[in-house]
């Protein structure tokens, strides 16, 4: 009943889950991304980074780091939520759902980064939060323009040849995802990759990478 209109980008559909007119699906491409996200979500669930140790360079000494379990719990929760949002964005067959999942990834990324109480890190998280908030304008704007110009948000309709999506809507979608997935670039500046709970920072990178890959697939297919 459901056949992906364009098979040369994502491949044939493997599995289709139908909720009314919102039809989620796996193609080989999105299935790979889904499995990747699932793997890292599982890592965030099972990893126990409470015992973190720094080796002093050039000697036998090491420092055991002081870790606040409450902050770590919050960070782990945010990392898992971020993983779930990424999973949703990977399987979504509806443009607006995709934008909602993308902005949820943005919010949870703010949470992961902001869990570390350091002035520099909080400053970076604040700047990133402003960017993520601003990115919702092109993100939702792109979805709204898609809806206004084609009358549908379902990717099953949008991927067909007969439906022309304006270039500005595609550009807005990409711009919005760029804003929401901005976190790794701020993290690179902050000291956070060496801070406590660093394994959860991985989730920021994974979610942003997967969001970019997915939005490129959507934009090319439309």
């Amino acid at each position: 009943m459901f056949n992906l209109p364009t098979t040369n980008i994502g491949g044939q559909e493997l599995f289709v889950l139908e909720f009314g007119d919102i039809v989620n699906y796996f193609s080989p491409y999105t299935a790979v991304l889904f499995v990747f996200a699932l793997l890292f979500t599982a890592l965030a669930i099972v990893s126990r980074p409470e015992r973190q140790v720094d080796i002093a360079f050039g000697g036998d000494a090491y420092y055991a780091k002081e870790v606040d379990p409450n902050l770590l719990r919050f960070q782990r929760f945010m990392a898992i939520a971020c993983g779930l949002a990424t999973l949703g964005a990977m399987v979504s067959g509806d443009v607006f759902n995709f934008t909602l999942f993308a902005s949820m990834v943005g919010i949870t990324n703010i949470g992961i980064v902001a869990a570390y109480r350091n002035r520099h890190v909080l400053n970076a998280a604040f700047q990133y939060g402003i960017v993520a908030m601003l990115a919702t304008v092109p993100l939702f704007g792109g979805a709204a323009i898609v809806l206004a110009s084609t009358g549908t948000l379902s990717m099953w309709e949008l991927f067909t040849d007969g439906v022309a999506v304006p270039l500005i809507a595609k550009a807005f979608l990409v711009l919005g995802v760029m804003g929401e997935g901005m976190a790794p670039f701020y993290v690179a500046k902050a000291e956070i990759t060496r801070a406590q709970g660093a394994p959860f920072i991985l989730m920021v990178h994974v979610s942003s990478l997967l969001l970019f890959l997915r939005v490129i697939e959507i934009v090319i297919s439309m």
């Binding site: 902005s103 939060g129 601003l134 304008v137 704007g141 809806l147």
Partner: protein, 199 residues
């Protein structure tokens, strides 16, 4: 639609340019949060311009995302600046002690009369005003509970639409009442932004 949509798009485009230019020029971080929230309203306006029932349904998640991002960034700002809630009320305005009861009552009653999304917004304006003026030590938990039940009723109404379509009128009434409560609960969060023990 033919003239109104491009004209509206033009107005929104001008608004986005003004908003982003203001953000580039503004250096104070608190003002930048406020400006970002104003810019976010433009995203809702873009959705609202489509002017279909589907677009109306899409505004609510857009609003929720906007509010939650605003709250997250505000929390980061509070943590970064090390701000603490003042012990005493920051200002005393006579009307804020006498008006909230009656005004909130009128707005909430009128909102219930309107029902649905619009009613939710009107009733929420009453709730926001009440919480801003009177504080919200105990009511917050109640609102969360009500919001949860409203969500369940809303989903229930969708199940009626799907499985028992002949009772659609009942489902419309359920969904209308539930969305009223839901929008009201979501928006009254704005009224709690002055902070407090339970937030």
């Amino acid at each position: 639609m033919d003239v109104a949509y491009p004209a509206g798009l033009l107005v929104v485009a001008i608004g986005i340019v003004i908003g982003f230019a203001a953000l580039v020029r503004e250096k104070d971080d608190l003002h930048r949060i406020l400006l970002t929230d104003l810019a976010e309203v433009l995203a809702l306006v873009l959705i609202a311009l489509v002017a279909t029932d589907l677009a109306e349904a899409l505004i609510l998640p857009g609003l929720v995302v906007g509010i939650s991002e605003l709250m997250a960034v505000s929390e980061v700002y509070i943590a970064r600046e090390g701000l603490r809630a003042p012990k005493e009320p920051a200002f005393r305005i006579e009307v804020m002690e006498s008006a909230p009861g009656i005004l909130a009552l009128i707005l909430v009653a009128y909102g219930i009369f309107l029902s649905g999304f619009t009613g939710g917004v009107v009733a929420a304006a009453g709730a926001v005003f009440y919480f801003i003026c009177r504080g919200h030590a105990e009511q917050f938990e109640l609102i969360e509970t009500v919001s949860g039940y409203a969500w369940a009723i809303w989903i229930g109404a969708f199940f009626i639409f799907m499985f028992l379509p002949q009772y659609w009128f009942f489902a419309v009434m359920m969904a209308g009442g539930a969305i009223l409560l839901k929008v009201m609960a979501k928006m009254s969060l704005v009224g709690t932004m002055r902070g407090g023990p339970d937030v």
